[in-house]
């Protein structure tokens, strides 16, 4: 006998809501009309791997396809948010004229610092304040428009992950943009 909705605990309801949303997104992808000639929409298994596999790369064709297809992007975001080690939603705090230089969520802090080697280089630092069984292996940023960006994380040094990026790299621009969402996968 199936349990009734009213008897479920709130966490269980939340879990089932998310699962339902994912199923709907998957169905939408499978049932869609044939794409125009020459356009290759991402398959659901590709989206699933890119969102859920900690070591999967986000290839350029897939990132471009996600940028061009709202439903695929919605499914990717839902899968990513659901499976992320940490999910940073759109930032509510007011940003400086140059944008955000730090984000905090669920024990993780991401912050940007300039490098002495030149104004065009910036450190992306991610600190994990908690002891966790699962460690993130990649950072994925979802800007409000354009393709998502993924960068593998190196080994942490005492709980801090260090990346060095160009100031104008898509990853740094996405982290600075308060309207972007960020996941540690």
């Amino acid at each position: 006998m199936s349990p009734s909705w009213g008897t479920l605990s709130e966490p269980e309801r939340a879990r089932r809501r998310r699962r339902f949303a994912l199923d709907v997104a998957a169905d939408a992808l499978v049932a869609r009309e044939a794409p125009p000639e020459g356009v290759r929409p991402p398959r659901f298994d590709q989206i699933y791997e890119a969102a859920r596999d900690p070591r999967a790369a986000l290839t350029e064709p897939l990132a471009a396809a996600l940028a061009a297809d709202d439903r695929a992007r919605t499914a990717f975001e839902a899968l990513l948010r659901d499976g992320a080690v940490c999910w940073f939603p759109v930032a509510a705090a007011a940003a400086s004229p140059t944008g955000l230089d730090a984000r905090e969520e669920s024990g993780f802090r991401i912050w940007l610092r300039p490098s002495s080697a030149g104004a065009d280089q910036v450190y992306v630092l991610i600190r994990d304040r908690e002891e966790r069984d699962v460690r993130p292996m990649a950072i994925i940023a979802l800007p409000p428009a354009g393709p998502p960006v993924c960068a593998p994380l190196p080994e942490d040094i005492d709980g801090v992950y260090q990346l060095i990026e160009r100031e104008d790299s898509p990853l740094v621009r996405a982290i600075r943009d308060p309207a972007s969402k960020v996941a540690l996968r």
Binding site: E49, D53, R55, A56, A57, T59, E60, R113, P114, S115, S116, A117, G118, Q121, V122, Y123, L125, R127, P152, P154, E155, I157, D158, V160, Q162, L163, I164, E165, R166
Partner: protein
């Protein structure tokens, strides 16, 4: 004194291009090692961070630095002595970076470690391949000396014998002054020892000052001043001519004997597979033409007819995807890949589960074969997923020499490997060491010594 610092490696000396406190990393107490001023972060960054915390903070008070190198260093710990020397010079305002002028060049290899004895906090520990590192820095040291700079080689005390032997193999103009260090105090003494500034040549061979192990060079003996003449008795012209002829004949006979003995020695080294020693002996022989003649005799004379590298792609027998293979209960089959020139392209990545690389001869041949597979670093991540280097050796006549490489299910674009196959008449530790070190230049030189060396490239194609 103002000095630039090189880290001696088996791939050649690596210059410390820039070293500076990094305020942006101070909050996290992290440091970074980068390539050539770019954002490329080298894999030794983690070890360097701990090195700064353990050994540099006490020196300068800083806990976050960025060091830029002109070439990659991907692992090991022998970079530490060079890094410590650079930090010492930086703390004294004597480190030359970029275009800054320098009167000294320091080459260093060694590990810096916290000593078990609390009285000696930082000790210098021995490292491997010192002779190879010295051989690879000779050209750079000669350029520094030609620029009028004092050239020092700093190695751990326990590597003294190996370093002295290796230095003797270098021509005198390329020979740096050897300095030994048992702890970090010795490094200070070695850098600021008085009396070095006048010459880049080795000093007194008897010198045993702390930190000093100067070598006497053959040139020192040759430069010994001759005693004044004592007045010669006049001799008849005929006697003098006969004497001169006798000297010439004697010298010729002696020279022939030395050459003959040297050729015998070279043959022995070649038979025993001691190719590095053979190459050094040939390079240092006093009659270059004789050494060249020996090389010419063996160049391209590898006995392995048709020795070649082969690649086979491993895919599910039903041609389906590799990731779904576990649900279909099919086995893998290997199919040979036809190269395009030296490049093997592996297409259809979804059905590609791995590949095998072999080194074999089409014709029956004895001897020993090696094959090495080296991942070409592309976007940083692949080395985490597959080994950076694999080496296998064997006897082709007994069983195929074949390396296997499984591929992760989720492939990345542009992955590539270089493949090197080597055939030699007998097993040789030198060949194995060169393949492990990935020393392409030295491997190519083996062709001059009668070995067969073939190269290829494997690329994953979308």
């Amino acid at each position: 004194m103002r000095a630039r610092v090189y880290i001696a490696t088996t791939e050649g000396p690596v210059l410390v291009q820039r070293l500076a406190p990094e305020a942006g990393l101070a909050e996290a107490e992290l440091s970074a090692v980068c390539l050539d001023g770019t954002p490329t972060r080298l894999p030794i960054t983690g070890a360097y961070t701990y090195f700064v915390r353990d050994h540099v903070r006490a020196l300068s008070g800083g806990a976050a630095y960025r060091m830029d190198l002109d070439r990659r260093i991907d692992g090991g710990s022998s970079w530490m002595l060079g890094a410590w020397t650079a930090h010492l010079l930086l703390s004294e305002g004597r480190l030359a970076v970029g275009d800054e002028t320098a009167d000294t060049a320091v080459y260093a290899t060694g590990e810096v470690a916290v000593a078990a004895d609390a009285e000696r906090r930082d000790e210098i520990r021995p490292v491997d391949y010192v002779a190879d590192k010295i051989a690879r820095l000779a050209e750079s040291a000669a350029e520094e000396a030609a620029g009028g700079r004092r050239v020092l080689l700093l190695v751990p005390q326990e590597n003294a014998a190996e370093a002295e032997t290796a230095l003797r193999d270098l021509p005198v103009p390329e020979r740096p002054t050897l300095r030994l260090a048992a702890d970090t105090d010795d490094v200070r003494r070695a850098l600021w020892q008085p009396g070095d500034a006048e010459s880049t040549q080795p000093r007194d061979a008897e010198s045993t000052q702390p930190g000093d192990a100067a070598l006497a060079s053959p040139a020192d003996a040759a430069a010994t001043p001759s005693r004044p003449g004592r007045g010669k008795r006049r001799r008849g012209g005929r006697v003098a001519a006969l004497l001169a002829l006798g000297v010439l004949l004697g010298a010729g006979a002696a020279g022939y004997a030395v050459w003959h003995n040297a050729e015998g020695e070279w043959e022995r080294l070649r038979r025993e597979g001691r190719y590095l020693e053979l190459a050094r002996s040939l390079d240092g022989f006093f009659v270059p033409m004789a050494a060249q003649r020996f090389r010419d005799r063996w160049r391209g004379q590898g006995d392995a007819a048709g020795f070649a590298v082969t690649v086979a792609a491993r895919r599910p027998a039903d041609g389906g995807s590799c990731s779904g293979m576990r649900f279909r209960r099919v086995s893998l089959v290997a199919s040979p890949v036809t190269p395009s020139g030296p490049v093997f392209r592996l297409d259809r990545p979804r059905s590609l589960c791995g590949f095998a690389v072999g080194a074999a001869s089409h014709e029956a041949a004895g001897g020993h074969a090696w094959v090495s597979l080296n991942l070409v670093p592309a976007h940083g991540a692949p080395a985490v997923l597959v080994p950076a280097r694999k080496v296998l050796s064997g006897v082709p006549a007994e069983s195929p020499v074949e390396l296997s490489q499984d591929l992760p299910l989720y492939l990345q674009d542009h992955w590539a490997w270089t493949v090197t196959g080597v055939w030699a008449p007998r097993p040789s530790q030198d060949v194995a060491d060169l393949l492990e070190a990935g020393d392409a230049e030295a491997l190519a030189a083996l062709k001059d010594l009668g070995l067969t060396v073939v190269r290829a490239r494997i690329e994953l194609a979308r």
